[in-house]
């Protein structure tokens, strides 16, 4: 996923411009803290975008794996990493792995630059909303036609 390939160049420039704001010469405590975390004149939004999108992906993975485990005994059996806990052990462990791997990959991609935040926030929000729905048993049942 490369944010520089998203919607349009002008849109991206607008988004990035909003989030690469120059800190005034009379620096606030926040600006000083921003500098301490490696930012000098501008605030690079890539690390935050990576963390937010990865969190959305991780939450969605919880819902998706839970649905898969609920819908298929074979998948539930696959996700049984620790028998006393059952499929929940594999569902959550796998989702945590997906979350951390996606965070690592996105951070490597975006760690030192600013990206178009609009679509990152939109996708993250949709994934978060879907994760809430997918963990709700009546919605799971609805998707499975129960």
């Amino acid at each position: 996923m490369n944010a520089s390939q998203t919607p349009s160049t002008s849109q991206r420039a607008a988004d990035v411009g909003q989030d690469r704001e120059t800190i005034a010469p009379e620096k606030t405590a926040g600006a000083q803290l921003a500098e301490q975390s490696g930012n000098a004149e501008t605030i690079t939004n890539g690390p935050a975008a990576a963390a937010i999108l990865a969190a959305g992906i991780g939450c969605f993975a919880i819902g998706l794996f839970a649905l898969a485990g609920d819908a298929s005994p074979a998948v539930a059996s696959f996700f049984t990493f620790y028998k006393p806990t059952g499929a929940l052990s594999g569902v959550t462990t796998s989702a945590i792995v997906v979350w951390l791997l996606s965070w690592f990959a996105l951070s490597r991609q975006w760690g030192t630059k600013s990206v178009a935040l609009g679509w990152v926030i939109l996708v993250s929000s949709v994934l978060l909303a879907l994760s809430l729905m997918l963990t709700f048993p009546p919605f799971m049942d609805l998707l499975q036609g129960k």
């Binding site: 926040g30 803290l33 921003a34 690390p47 935050a48 929940l88 989702a95 963990t135």
Partner: protein, 188 residues
């Protein structure tokens, strides 16, 4: 006054970790908003920022402690399968709930929802702590990130509320009991 070993660990999971985590949300949401809202009444000092980072760090630890203790300590006791033909299901909470149509919903809706939705909270609050640690009050300049961080915090709060509320009800209708009795004090 006695408490069973399983009761004690269930209380630690629900009250020691979970309830404390949920209580911490009010402070976190208020402080995150106050410190990052543009035009806010005060600019936080580096010391205030460090304090909030410690606060969020404690929330992250509590969130993960809650879900791991729930999934790997309490949940196995809850879902243990009773021997065939056992009439007294009081030591097998899931089976006890499922044995009656009046209580089965506590498992099929309550536990099924709680066991999954609860995991959204630690993932979300870890991200929130990281982003705040990385940017601090400079988030006031990053409107979209600030809104996303607050949205994830609110969703984590909702997820924790659902898990906590159903946890309390489940433990009321089918408590996890058993193990060694721990003597706390002698009554009058």
């Amino acid at each position: 006054m006695e408490i069973s070993f399983r009761d004690l660990l269930t209380v630690l999971h629900g009250m020691g970790f979970g309830a404390l985590f949920m209580l911490a949300f009010s402070g976190a949401i208020a402080e995150l908003y106050r410190m990052t809202a543009p035009g806010g009444p005060s600019v936080p000092t580096p010391r205030e920022h460090r304090l909030l980072m410690m606060y969020l760090g404690a929330m992250v630890v509590l969130a993960w402690a809650t879900v791991f203790s729930g999934a790997y300590i309490v949940y196995p006791w809850y879902r243990a399968v009773p021997p065939a033909g056992l009439a007294d299901l009081s030591s097998y909470p899931k089976s006890l709930l499922m044995s009656s149509r009046d209580t089965s919903g506590w498992h099929s809706l309550g536990m099924e929802w709680k066991e999954h939705v609860a995991w959204l909270a630690p993932i979300s609050i870890t991200m929130v702590a990281y982003v705040f640690g990385k940017y601090g009050p400079a988030l006031a300049r990053l409107r979209q990130i600030r809104h996303a961080v607050l949205a994830f915090t609110v969703v984590a709060f909702i997820a924790t509320g659902v898990a906590g509320a159903f946890g309390a009800f489940l433990n009321k209708y089918a408590p996890v009991r058993g193990g060694t009795a721990i003597h706390l004090m002698t009554g009058e």
